[in-house]
Symmetry: C2
Subunit: 399 residues, 2 copies
């Protein structure tokens, strides 16, 4: 029913991305997404105590459930910038409202880059007219590119499908690379759809879909000051309206999950320095939160992550990380698998063939499965390895 | 009152360390500490669910508060080895008891190395006679060397001082390098003293001293299956007995803390790949546990650790890690210092001179101070940076 399309556009959405010199070179660093009519909007934000200025503004504006534009800069997070940072973000918003001739409170803001740096408002204002004039119906990739920092490639996912008797489109873009953790929505994720949907239903399914996708990934266990996920739904598909507790809303949610799942996996694969994609499934837990805690303990262990990078079949580190997670376990019931190979059960290593195990560790994708044998709850986390390049990228990031 | 001595020996203690081929080469890998008379003993162990075989045995034996010998191998953790691992450890203990002609339950065991590998008992048994015959009063360094894995140098600290009208000696040895976390006693730490001390008093001060020293360090936030800290006190100094609630017990505890503090800092400095020693002080907290949680959140952030390695003055990452810690804070009261330089206060970066800040980041020792302005509790954690060598060492560890 769903498939990918080469043409990246969503009815009623225009976008653009340009360079205004925030990053200091000619790389795109200012992006805009614009719906030709005001759209239903929902969002999730970082739980970090030190939320960036754009996050604080968006949290207020999203309360009315409507938005029409999202402007995003890379090269500066506008975080830890205090009142001045808020004024700077509001100046950007005012300048954009004037150009777009829309109400300022329909504008959402995003920033990503170095924390503690002042936003170069004049550069952004100087580029605003060009940014708006260049809006076009195939500008989504440019908008995405403008929010990249250490990302190696743009991340876009799109699905079309019949929902409520009409074809609808859902397109998502994401900026990731580092600083990704549970309990939020990774760095910046924006979803555009032409589906006609009730506000409460949109808010509910977006939270569910983010929880099922972006909240199951981790690159380095760090949670940033700027993480934001926003969905805009402009209703131009003219489908039968989607409301809560409908079968067609489930269909919409499934499509949304597909888009966000593809994006979240792209984010892991493009994690800073990542050379491998690793799934960590913890099953047989008494509760989902136990399974989650154990899966993240393994996913965020530097010793586990470096073993994957080195293709060193040092499976004992997974057991050590699991045991350090602190979740209740009957340890004699715990078993550990890599792919289909059982390496540990009944408190004992299974004398696994290390050469076979090494071959599994050498693959681009590694599937780790921990069975706790204590219940029927599970959780799966997706993560990357810890490589020389992670250290290199992050040792030199701000300078 | 206290000073270091070149001669590493403790009255009534003999030690030795030899190679029996567990590591596969000629490196020392089997060490023994022996008190000529049974000693009072106390210990702390890892909280990992999957405790290694020697840990399980020691936890039982320590209950009677007496021990006379500690035998330790490197090259194999004897963890995740099940019942067979327990039998192997008991075989080592039996062979040693026979050689030393002491009761088996006076022997404590330690292992460190790869998890999931079977203990080569025959090699250990074959070397037992040589190990025991070579016991001597200046063998402590050999015993320490025999428990090194990725450690670059042996870690020994010694203090002598007058306590209870007699000179007593306290000597500690530690094996560290990686897998170090709060809530335990780092990998292997053994303390020998000739002080005459009551069992309960020994147990109390040892827990206090470990809590104040080894429980304030972190290298990579991983907690191992084997972590053990043991103190043996043989009483041969003939001092006035140390009991609870005495001034002279405080003096003993201070000396013990000095020894353990020196060892724990050595462990951080010799952390895998470490190029810097970093202190992270969180003060002005409402509770010590809040301060501790915040300090460890910063210490264990890969983004913070890589910035230190790269001498990249990216202070915003400390703010992001603090904000992600989840402790309650009034964010407008939070300030951040590196050395004496304030870089952040009142929600805003202080426009610190980045060149001056870079100079601080380039030093071998970096002192980070977070003031929460919300109370009078504090906690200081010591950690190392995250370097290329950490990745290199850990990507190739087991093979």
């Amino acid at each position: 029913m769903t498939k990918k399309f080469n043409k990246i556009s969503v009815p009623g959405f225009l976008a653009n991305g340009i360079s205004v010199g925030i990053k200091g070179g000619t790389a795109k660093d200012l992006g805009l997404i614009y719906s030709t009519i005001p759209a239903k909007a929902a969002a999730l934000f970082t739980k970090n105590t030190f939320k960036a200025a754009p996050v604080l503004i968006d949290m207020e504006r999203i309360k009315k459930g409507m938005a029409q534009a999202i402007i995003t800069n890379s090269g500066c997070a506008n975080a830890a910038t205090g009142k001045e940072g808020l004024q700077d973000a509001l100046a950007v918003s005012a300048a954009l409202a004037k150009q777009l001739k829309i109400k300022e409170d329909l504008i959402l803001l995003g920033s990503t880059g170095v924390i503690g740096k002042k936003l170069p408002v004049k550069k952004i204002e100087a580029g605003m007219s060009k940014l708006v004039k260049g809006l076009n119906d195939s500008g989504i990739e440019d908008a995405e590119t403008a929010m990249m920092t250490t990302d190696k490639y743009p991340k876009i996912a799109i699905r079309k499908g019949i929902v409520g008797a009409k074809e609808i489109t859902i397109c998502g873009i994401a900026k990731g690379a580092g600083m990704m953790e549970p309990n939020m929505a990774t760095l910046l994720t924006y979803v555009m759809t032409d589906a006609l949907i009730d506000s409460k239903a949109l808010n509910t399914v977006f939270h569910q879909a983010i929880d099922a996708t972006f909240n199951t990934i981790s690159v380095d266990g760090c949670m940033s000051t700027n993480d934001t996920a926003i969905v805009l739904a402009n209703g131009l598909a003219g489908n039968n309206p989607l409301e809560r507790a409908q079968a067609r809303l489930q269909r919409f949610r499934d499509m949304l999950c597909e888009v966000l799942n593809e994006l979240s996996h792209s984010v892991v694969k493009d994690g800073e320095g990542a050379t491998k994609f690793i799934s960590i499934l913890v099953e047989g837990a008494k509760s989902r939160s136990d399974a989650r805690r154990a899966a993240y303990a393994i996913a965020n262990s530097n010793l586990v992550k470096t073993a994957f990078f080195g293709a060193d079949p040092n499976w004992g580190r997974v057991i050590a990380a699991l045991g350090a997670s602190g979740i209740p376990m009957e340890k004699e019931r715990v078993s550990l698998f890599f792919g289909d190979m059982m390496v540990y059960a009944q408190e004992t290593g299974m004398n696994a063939n290390l050469n076979d195990l090494r071959k599994i560790f050498q693959k681009d994708r590694i599937d780790v499965r921990v069975s706790l044998g204590g219940g029927d709850k599970s959780y799966c986390v997706y993560t990357s390895d810890l490589s020389h390049d992670y250290v290199k990228i992050n040792a030199e990031y701000s300078t």
